[in-house]
C-alpha cells in the first residue's frame, strides 16, 4: 500500500516522512538551546551590513533575472543556440514540424 517496487529497489514514503519528523524534532531541540535575550522592536532586530546603511526595500530584493547569473554565463553558447531556436515566428514552428517529419520519414522508410 505504501511502498512501490522498482525491480531493483523499493520506495516507501513513510520512512521518509518519519525521517523528516525526526529532523524537525532535532531542529526544534537545537533551537531551544538558543539565546533567550532576543527582544522584538529594538536595535537588535535591524539588519547589520558591516556598518553600511540599509538600502530601500526594492533594491534589497535580488531580481529573478540576476539569479543563477554564473550558470547562465558559463552556458552562454548553449543559451545562444536556444535563443536562436525560439524565434517566436509562427512560420518557424511549421518549419520545425516539417523537418522532424522529414527526418522521421527518411529513417523509417530506409
Amino acid at each position: 500500500m505504501f511502498s512501490i517496487e522498482t525491480g531493483s529497489g523499493f520506495w516507501t514514503p513513510i520512512v521518509w516522512v518519519i525521517a523528516i519528523v525526526v529532523a524537525f524534532l532535532v531542529m526544534y531541540i537545537i533551537r531551544m538551546f538558543g539565546n533567550k535575550t532576543y527582544k522584538k522592536n529594538t536595535e537588535q532586530t535591524k539588519s547589520f551590513l558591516s556598518g553600511n546603511p540599509e538600502y530601500p526595500k526594492e533594491q534589497m530584493q535580488i531580481k529573478a533575472s540576476n539569479l543563477y547569473w554564473g550558470f547562465t554565463q558559463s552556458m552562454e553558447g548553449f543559451y545562444n543556440l536556444l535563443r536562436k531556436m525560439h524565434t517566436g515566428n509562427a512560420s518557424d514552428y511549421v518549419l520545425w514540424f516539417v523537418i522532424v517529419l522529414a527526418i522521421f520519414l527518411l529513417i523509417e522508410v530506409i
Binding site: F2, P13, T72, Y93, V100, E108, V109
Partner: protein, 527 residues
C-alpha cells in the same frame, strides 16, 4: 464488486458536457450566478460518472483486461468484421485513466474560474467553450474510431484556441491563440491524412479492426510516422514545442489548466496509436529484420531527452512566471516520452514494463503538479496583476496559503522525495538505467535543475522584503484556494500512498496497453 451503472454511461460522459455547453448561453441570459452553479454541477456530474465507471473498470480489469464497448445509434451486438460503419466507444483501463485526469482538471478549473474570471465579460461563451473542450478531450480518450478521434481532436483544438485568445484586449494572447490554432490545425490535418491512408488500405476506421488487419506495409510506415509526429507536436515535444510556452503563458490560468489536459489527450493518442493500432506489429517483432519496437523506441528516446534538456534549460532563465512553468511542463512531457520510448525499446522485459508504469504514473502526476503550479501563478496574477518575476517579491507575507500550495507544487514537480513526482520519476530512473545509464543520468541531473528553476521562482516571488507596491495585496478568494486545495490534497495523497495508486490505477492501465490480443478479441467479439 462493481457498482451497477447503465450500459450507456460512456455516451453520457460525452453527452452531458455537450448538452451543458449548449444550454449555458440560454441559462446565462437568466442569471450569471445560476450559470456558474449550472456549469459546476454539469462538470461535477460528469466527474461522478467518470469516477464510477473508472471504479467498475479498474475492479473488473484487476484479473484480466476489460473493455466496455458502446455502439451509437443501433444494436449493441454487431459484427465489426463486416464493412459496417458504426461509431464505437471502447473504454478500457487506459482510456478511463486519462478521462479521470481530464475531468478532474476541468472540474478544478471551473471552480477556480468563479472568482478568477469574475471581472470578465462574455463569460457565457467562456463556459460554453470550457464544456466543449471537456467533451472534446473525453471524446478523444474514449472513442474507438479513428475518424471520430480526429473530429474530437479538432473540437479540442478549436475550443482551446478560442479560450487561449479569450483576453482579446491583450495582443499577445491573440497572437498565442493564433499560433496554437495554426499548429493544431496542421497537426490534425496530418492525422487525418494518415487516417485516410489507413482507410484506403484496409477499408475500416475502427481501431480494433484496423489493428487486426494491419500489415506494416510501406504506406503503413508513412501513416505511423505522420500520426506519431503530428500527435507528438500537439503534445509539445522539442523541437516542436514552441507553441506550448506561448499559449500556456498568455492564456488565463484556468484555460492553461484545461490545456494541460488537452496536451495529455494528444499524448494518449500517441500511446493508443503505438500500442493498440500498431500493437500486433510491435508484439511480433520476429517478422522483420530490425525489431520494430526497438526501432520506434530509439526514435522516440532522443526527442524525449532533447525535450527534457531544452525544457529545463529554458525554464532556468525565464523571468515570466507562467512561461517558466510551461517550459517545465515541456520537460515533464519529455520524461513521459522517455518512459514510453524505454518501454518500447525494452518491450517484453521486466524493466520495460516498469518504465511504462513509471511513464503512465507520471502522466497523472504531471497533470496534478503542473496544474497546481499554474493555478498558483494565476492566483499571483489575480492578486498583483503581474506576470514578470522581476517585479515580484515578498508575497509570502500576504499570501500564506498560496505559498504553501506553491511549495507543495514545487516539490512535487521537481521530484522531491515524499511527494508523488518522486515515486514516478524513480520508476523512470531505475528502468532507463537498465536500458542505458546515460539516459538515467541526464534525467536525474535535469530533475535537479528543475528544482533549481523553481527555487528561483520561490525566492524571487515569495521571499525577500515586503515591497511597498504590494502593500495592499490580499489572499485570493476562497473558491480559488479551494480549487488549489483539491489538487494539493490529491498530490499529498498520491505521494504518501504510491503503492496504492500504482496497484489499483496504473497497473490496469499498463495491462490494457500491453495486452493487445485481449483488446482485439473483446472488441471484435466472437473469436
Amino acid at each position: 464488486m462493481s457498482i451497477p451503472l447503465p450500459e450507456y454511461t460512456p455516451a453520457l460522459i460525452i453527452a452531458i458536457p455537450l448538452l451543458g455547453a449548449f444550454l449555458t448561453p440560454l441559462i446565462s441570459r437568466i442569471n450569471d450566478k445560476l450559470r456558474n452553479i449550472f456549469v459546476i454541477l454539469v462538470l461535477g456530474l460528469n466527474l461522478f460518472f467518470v469516477s464510477i465507471l473508472a471504479y467498475n473498470i479498474f475492479t473488473k480489469s484487476a484479473q484480466e483486461p476489460y473493455i466496455m464497448k458502446y455502439v451509437f445509434g443501433g444494436s449493441q451486438n454487431i459484427d465489426l468484421t463486416l464493412p459496417i460503419v458504426r461509431i464505437l466507444f471502447e473504454v478500457d483501463a487506459m482510456s478511463i485513466f486519462m478521462a479521470i485526469i481530464a475531468s478532474t482538471l476541468m472540474f478544478v478549473a471551473v471552480i477556480y474560474s468563479w472568482a478568477f474570471m469574475k471581472e470578465n465579460t462574455g463569460l457565457d461563451k467562456y463556459y460554453t467553450l470550457m464544456l466543449l473542450l471537456t467533451a472534446g478531450m473525453l471524446g478523444m480518450m474514449l472513442t474507438g474510431d479513428l475518424f471520430n478521434f480526429f473530429v474530437f481532436l479538432e473540437i479540442t483544438s478549436i475550443s482551446s484556441a478560442a479560450l487561449v485568445a479569450f483576453w482579446t484586449h491583450k495582443g499577445e494572447s491573440v497572437e498565442a491563440g493564433f499560433k496554437y490554432i495554426l499548429i493544431s490545425t496542421i497537426g490534425a490535418l496530418f492525422v487525418l491524412f494518415a487516417i485516410a491512408i489507413l482507410y484506403g488500405q484496409y477499408d475500416a476506421l475502427n481501431i480494433a479492426v484496423l489493428a487486426n488487419a494491419i500489415q506494416y506495409t510501406f504506406l503503413d510506415k508513412i501513416a505511423l510516422v505522420l500520426l506519431i509526429v503530428a500527435l507528438a507536436m500537439k503534445a509539445g515535444i522539442v523541437p516542436m514545442h514552441m507553441w506550448l510556452p506561448d499559449s500556456y503563458s498568455r492564456a488565463p490560468a484556468t484555460v492553461t489548466v484545461a490545456l494541460v489536459g488537452a496536451t495529455l489527450a494528444s499524448l494518449y493518442g500517441v500511446l493508443r496509436v503505438i500500442f493498440t493500432l500498431y500493437g500486433n506489429i510491435l508484439l511480433d517483432p520476429a517478422k522483420f529484420d530490425i525489431p520494430v519496437n526497438i526501432f520506434i523506441g530509439w526514435l522516440i528516446i532522443p526527442l524525449a531527452v532533447i525535450s527534457i534538456i531544452v525544457g529545463v534549460m529554458m525554464a532556468l532563465r525565464q523571468t515570466d512566471f507562467k512561461r517558466l512553468i510551461a517550459f517545465a511542463a515541456v520537460a515533464e512531457i519529455g520524461y513521459i516520452f522517455l518512459a514510453i520510448g524505454t518501454g518500447l525499446a525494452a518491450m517484453g522485459t521486466e524493466y520495460g514494463r516498469t518504465a511504462l508504469e513509471g511513464g503512465i504514473f507520471h502522466i497523472i502526476n504531471d497533470a496534478l503538479d503542473v496544474g497546481l503550479l499554474f493555478l498558483v501563478a494565476g492566483a499571483i496574477y489575480y492578486a498583483t496583476k503581474e506576470w514578470s518575476l522581476n517585479e515580484m517579491g515578498g508575497l509570502a507575507r500576504n499570501m500564506k496559503y498560496t505559498t504553501i500550495f506553491f511549495i507543495i507544487g514545487l516539490f512535487a514537480v521537481a521530484g522531491m522525495p515524499p511527494f508523488n513526482g518522486f515515486a514516478s520519476k524513480l520508476l523512470i530512473y531505475e528502468s532507463t538505467f537498465q536500458l542505458n545509464p546515460i539516459l538515467a543520468i541526464v534525467a536525474i541531473l535535469c530533475s535537479i535543475l528543475l528544482l533549481a528553476a523553481f527555487v528561483k521562482v520561490f525566492h524571487s516571488a515569495f521571499m525577500g522584503p515586503k515591497l511597498p507596491k504590494f502593500k495592499d495585496v490580499k489572499e485570493v478568494p476562497k473558491s480559488m484556494l479551494f480549487a488549489m486545495g483539491i489538487l494539493a490534497c490529491i498530490i499529498i495523497f498520491f505521494g504518501l500512498f504510491p503503492g496504492l495508486v500504482l496497484e489499483n490505477i496504473v497497473r490496469p492501465a499498463v495491462d490494457a496497453l500491453l495486452s493487445n490480443a485481449q483488446y482485439l478479441s473483446m472488441v471484435l467479439g466472437g473469436a
